[in-house]
């Protein structure tokens, strides 16, 4: 057993900080006497920690979760480049079951935290749109896989850089993403071609939009289709965030500033 403990000691030796991911109350209390407050990353601040980073989406991918936590902590000036951080995280659900040693570096900034916290739209609007896209990806429309493109935030500019393909079903309606009825509506309308435009506060401005951004210099992986290209390009031209559900591989991807930021599989949620 001694070697096992040494192994763990090596992992946590000389760390500059600790990040706890969704700790339970009693787990957090054990850190009370520590010299430095641990950083808590969780959907809500249930343990009333002083240093807290809100986790908008319970990323199934642990790498994404840790990236998000570290980026959030860097944003709050809790860590800086070169710091070594121990992350206590749960890989298989339930209680904390693993410790990951990470060296903080600028190259870790993939923009996941930025995507939620510093977008034009409200963080919970982005989260709600993600949830809709994930739900849509899981169930599809009447059992068939569907694709969808949501452009969130900076709606005025997006509307000026797009044109209607047909009559807008959301004309003079005041529905917001996150309203319970909306998931059903969006699911029905997802068979329409074109993009959904969502405003900063989450109001669904339009469906059926044909986006007309200039696609020069958009850096998205080869092999993705026109929907992704349009979504990526509109985020370069405006301050919007695009959340795209792919019809062919069923993944949900988020674009910001013309770059692919996040890629998640709806089946994991």
């Amino acid at each position: 057993m001694a070697t096992l403990t040494e192994l763990l000691d090596d992992l946590v030796a000389d760390v500059d900080g600790v990040i706890l991911f969704s700790p339970s109350g009693s787990y957090y209390e054990r850190f009370e006497d520590a010299d430095e407050d641990p950083v808590v990353v969780a959907p809500e601040n249930a343990v009333e920690a002083e240093t807290f980073v809100e986790l908008p989406l319970e990323f199934e991918n642990v790498r994404d979760r840790i990236r998000f936590g570290i980026e959030g902590a860097m944003e709050h000036d809790l860590f800086e480049e070169g710091d070594v951080v121990a992350c206590a995280v749960s890989v298989f659900g339930g209680d904390t079951d693993s410790v990951v040693r990470v060296r903080v570096s600028e190259s870790m900034r993939s923009g996941i935290y930025d995507l939620f916290a510093n977008s034009r739209a409200d963080p919970n609007v982005i989260r709600d749109v993600f949830e809709v896209a994930i739900e849509l990806g899981k169930k599809g429309q009447k059992g068939k896989p569907v694709g969808a493109l949501f452009v969130v935030g900076d709606a005025g500019k997006v509307m000026n850089k797009s044109r209607p393909l047909s009559y807008n079903p959301f004309e003079k309606s005041h529905v917001h993403v996150g309203d319970p009825i909306v998931n059903v509506m969006l699911k029905e309308f997802s068979r329409l071609d074109g993009a959904f435009v969502v405003s900063d506060s989450g109001k669904i401005v339009s469906a059926y939009r044909y986006l007309e951004p200039s696609a020069e210099g958009v850096d998205i992986p080869k092999g993705l289709g026109a929907r992704h290209m349009a979504g990526g390009a509109i985020t370069r031209d405006t301050n919007a965030t695009a959340i795209v559900l792919s019809e062919s591989d069923g993944l949900v991807r988020a674009f910001k500033g013309g770059k692919l930021i996040l890629e998640i599989d709806p089946e994991d949620y």
Binding site: D154, A155, G156, K157, N160, V205
Partner: protein, 258 residues
């Protein structure tokens, strides 16, 4: 043996009846106690009033609000039974006194009930308001829940007092002044918000301009980013103007079509 029979014969039949009614009353009172206890619990009263100071105080005294209320209804029935028994026993010399008491006692019970309800409701209101304001991280809002609580107390005390027939005209006038003060103050304070809200409802219903339209208002020109009940967000070149909706109505807005 014969002596006891003689004593028993000396007691009038009415007294026996009165005794029976008294016993029946006590029994009925107990049943009412139990039934009320169950009903209140079934109606979810203990959960609804959990955390109020009255409930805590009752807990400290080894009882609970529900038990107190049920007990109160029991006493009411028992006292009523005693009065009926006394009337039937025809104890005449007390008649005048009792007739007044009979009228008065239900009022006292109702007043007591109202007071208890008032205390519980007031504290519940305080808790709810405090809960609602928790998101507002401002130490000064602490007095608003207390204000709400004492307003509720005041109204319930007034109702209880009027129930037992105390002259409360002056207190009612005070309440009126207080209510008027709140109405006038909020009319002044929220006047702009109300007119913005009214204008916003019109704008949302008819949508004379929508998100993405280019508009001009006075010197400001830009693209509409957001319309809600109170304000319209107009953005141009990174400047976001947040315009109250009543301003849109007073000054009008130019919609630029090209």
């Amino acid at each position: 043996m014969a002596q006891i029979e003689a004593y028993l014969d000396a007691v009038p039949a009415r007294w026996w009846l009165a005794l029976g009614i008294l016993l029946l009353g006590v029994l009925l009172g107990y049943v009412v106690n139990v039934v009320n206890n169950r009903l209140l619990r079934r109606a979810g009263v203990p959960e609804a009033i959990e955390g109020t100071a009255f409930e805590r105080m009752a807990r400290d005294l080894g009882t609970s609000t529900v038990a107190i209320l049920a007990r109160l209804s029991m006493y009411f029935v028992v006292v009523l039974a005693i009065l009926v028994a006394l009337t039937i026993a025809e104890i005449r010399y007390t008649e005048v006194f009792w007739s007044q008491v009979v009228e008065f006692i239900p009022q006292v019970f109702i007043a007591l009930l109202i007071l208890i309800i008032g205390v519980v409701v007031g504290e519940k209101v305080e808790l709810l308001v405090a809960e609602r304001l928790r998101g507002v991280k401002l130490p000064e809002v602490g007095f608003i829940p207390a204000l709400a609580k004492y307003s509720v107390f005041y109204v319930f005390v007034l109702i209880a007092l009027s129930q037992v027939g105390v002259a409360i005209l002056a207190l009612v006038v005070l309440l009126g002044v207080y209510a008027l003060g709140i109405v006038v103050l909020s009319a002044i304070a929220f006047g702009d918000m109300l007119s913005s809200g009214a204008a916003g409802v019109y704008l949302l219903l008819t949508q004379p301009y929508g998100i993405g339209d280019e508009v001009k208002m006075g010197q400001r020109r830009g693209v509409v980013q957001e319309i809600d009940v109170f304000v319209t967000h107009v953005e141009s070149d990174g400047d976001e103007y947040i315009i109250p909706n009543n301003k849109v109505f007073q000054d009008g807005i130019v919609r630029i079509r090209r």
